[in-house]
């Protein structure tokens, strides 16, 4: 199984590299945000695979944190989008 793990991990990292093109190019910030979400889910898959390949159960904990907090970045980004509509005073 180890070869399969390694190959799958390679595929995932190649996906990261390709997703990078969207991060760099993506005309709007929303596109970059989406590519960031790609990185997050690919990261989760990569961590789960590495956890199985290296017998490191702690990596699953890191994947759990990725999954939980990945949403926060989108909310922080989009929330401030909401705030722009109603003018806020910066002291």
């Amino acid at each position: 199984m180890n070869t399969v793990y390694t190959l799958f991990a390679l595929v995932l990292v190649v996906n990261l590299g390709v997703g990078l093109l969207r991060v760099l190019r993506g005309p709007s910030d929303a596109d970059r945000l989406l590519a960031g979400q790609l990185f997050a889910s690919t990261g989760v898959a990569l961590l789960l695979t590495l956890s199985a390949a290296g017998s490191l159960p702690s990596l699953r904990d890191i994947a759990l944190v990725f999954a939980l907090l990945g949403l926060l970045v989108v909310l922080a980004f989009v929330h401030e989008g909401d705030a722009i509509e109603g003018s806020d005073d910066v002291s």
Partner: protein
Amino acid sequence: MFLDALSTLLFVLATVFFCAGTIGLLRLPDTLCRIHALTKADNLGLGFAALALIIQAESLAAAGQIILIWLLALVASATAGYRVARRCVPVDPPP
């Protein structure tokens, strides 16, 4: 071993969907279209990979944790897609 063969097959499926999602992210013309590629294809890929790993899991607790991670990733991804979409298309309140 049958289980190993099954896992390998699931990993291949996962590869297909992950690559499809990434290609979609790159080639689709519009932000809203790319959200489709990301939230659906990528998470399906993640699901197949999770299944493959559950089969290989060393304990019931480990398998349970993988399922939890997958479900959370699904929900987070869908919600993220929804929020990004709302940013691109302003929602008008009903008159």
